[in-house]
Chain length 327, copies 2
């Protein structure tokens, strides 16, 4: 006699759980073998209607759930070791589950992060996917938010604001009206919203050279404020130095969105880190070899106030909000 | 500028996160230090209206969320090392959160299992609490579901059926009508439903003597079937040997509930294990020293069919269902 959740697990997820520590999903627990590395642990949940849209394809939902966690591991300098998946489902829809498992399987292979176990439960509410991801770092070498020092360069990977404007487009915001006929620009932004690009290749570079790091998930301004608060410092950021993609730059130049929508929007899943001046050349070289663009956007300064964003003339820009908040 | 979830974390959960690996909940990730032990990982989620009732007190919900995971760690022979907490909340109700955090803090101290991190998100749906728990075992020593051998004794800890009948009482089932005026019996059953008792003290005894083990969460009959299937064996269980508390025995003898409600009810969070005959005396002695009652309920036999439950005359009892199913 096989229950519904057992059937879901064996049909869709057992084929993905090939790591020996997963025991083929036939046990109550998984094992990470002792091998002298510290285990870095992160968990992030995504909720339908909050972190993703009911209209998002199932395979993109699976990939987003995993990738937002892989982004954290990368920021901490960790190499993926595996993950647990908790699925809260209203119903067991075979088409949705098959697409979800296919997307997940592709990312498991892409990022070398095996499925180790999980839990599948029913809920009368919205879909929720919670992933707990494990990574390994040499003992004592996790990159912390703590550690930014006065004079360090403030650096981000990739470009900022794309995902927030992709969501703005999908939900019929100003970006939709402005980009309605520019399909390639719209598609680029939507792709960034649906498919975060965890900077896994940057992990060792961060371990070797960064004084502090985190990923940008809730908004650059708010996340930088958290890093600075833990490190006991402040920062000055040149807003014109924040790296933007072509579609975001166009929307900004046309006045469709303001800088706040970009630096407080969230869902970027880029790396935010601080790098001592003496380490910058080595950091930039190693990042280039890892295939990741990195940009200096400002400097760590003394103080306990939130980071200052300034324009080209050095004038402070007041941000009404700095990040996404759930409550 | 502090967001709502940051405020929840710092008010209610930061005081509970005293382990150095939690970094005071100021980082994106936690660390389990390398110390030569394997890390056993388990995750179980509980959903309002499915695994607990909206009327259950917040402190009991917190304790249940943690304890169902500690129960798994105990069954795997692992010593708790810490846990992550994912909370999906409709609203940030200070009274509910304070009671939740108080209950959680008491269990953190009771079981020596520190809070390492987590995620707090908003949901328009029911409350959901997902816990991922970590335990340590000597390298290669996790107790598996796999390993039961023909002739091994089938053993359970404590008593079976209490929690299922506690839920039956709370939801106005037959137990409510029968026990309406027997308040101490009703309270005992409800307590078992709301406060699982993880058998953490039995972990080493299981590592030392059991051939296979799991905890009983979905129902004794169904869970034993899973253990047998993975081990490639079957079992014969004497239904009269299944240990019952006084209130459950009364309800059974009065014909208020049938044996199926007891062996398929679930939420027991007792240990189900198999013990080779030669190890039984040592197992019973160590369990006694651990303060846990253990009872032999049957024997592992050859075969691939689901376990047979028989009455005192050896007649097979047909179970229409063997466990709780979500779908």
């Amino acid at each position: 006699m096989t229950s519904g959740e057992d059937s879901i697990i064996s049909s869709y997820f057992k084929p993905l759980a090939t790591d020996p520590g997963a025991f083929g999903l036939t046990d109550d627990a998984a094992v990470l073998k002792a091998d002298g590395h510290d285990i870095v642990i992160n968990t992030d949940a995504i909720v339908e209607g909050v972190h993703f849209l009911a209209t998002d394809p199932a395979d993109s939902v699976a990939r987003k759930a995993l990738r937002v966690n892989l982004s954290d591991l990368a920021a901490k300098g960790a190499v993926p070791a595996g993950f647990l998946l908790t699925l809260a489902l209203r119903e067991a829809d075979p088409d949705w589950l098959a697409a979800f498992a296919r997307g997940l399987g592709e990312d498991i292979a892409l990022y070398g992060c095996p499925l180790l176990g999980g839990d599948t439960v029913s809920t009368p509410g919205p879909l929720m996917i919670s992933v707990t991801a494990f990574g390994r770092v040499p003992a004592g070498r996790m990159v912390r938010r703590f550690g930014a020092a006065i004079g360090d360069r403030v650096v981000v990977s990739g470009t900022i604001g794309d995902a927030a404007l992709g969501l703005n487009f999908l939900t019929g915001g100003a970006a939709k009206a402005a980009l309605g006929s520019e399909l390639s620009s719209a598609a680029a932004l939507i792709t960034r919203y649906r498919f975060p690009q965890p900077r896994s290749t940057l992990a060792q570079c961060l371990r070797d050279h960064a004084s502090a790091a985190m990923d940008v998930s809730d908004g650059l301004a708010g996340d930088l404020a958290k890093l600075c608060a833990v490190s006991g410092v402040s920062a000055q950021i040149e807003i014109d130095a924040v790296p933007l993609s072509a579609p975001v730059r166009v929307l900004l130049e046309r006045g469709i969105v303001d800088p706040e929508a970009i630096v407080a929007g969230g869902d970027d899943y880029e790396i935010l880190c601080t790098v001592p001046v003496v380490a910058w050349d080595a950091f930039r070289r190693d990042a280039q070899q890892a295939g990741v663009d990195v940009t200096v956007i400002g400097e760590i300064v003394e103080g306990t106030e939130p980071p200052r964003f300034v324009d080209a003339r050095g004038k402070a820009i007041v941000l009404a909000r700095t990040s996404y908040s759930h409550f």
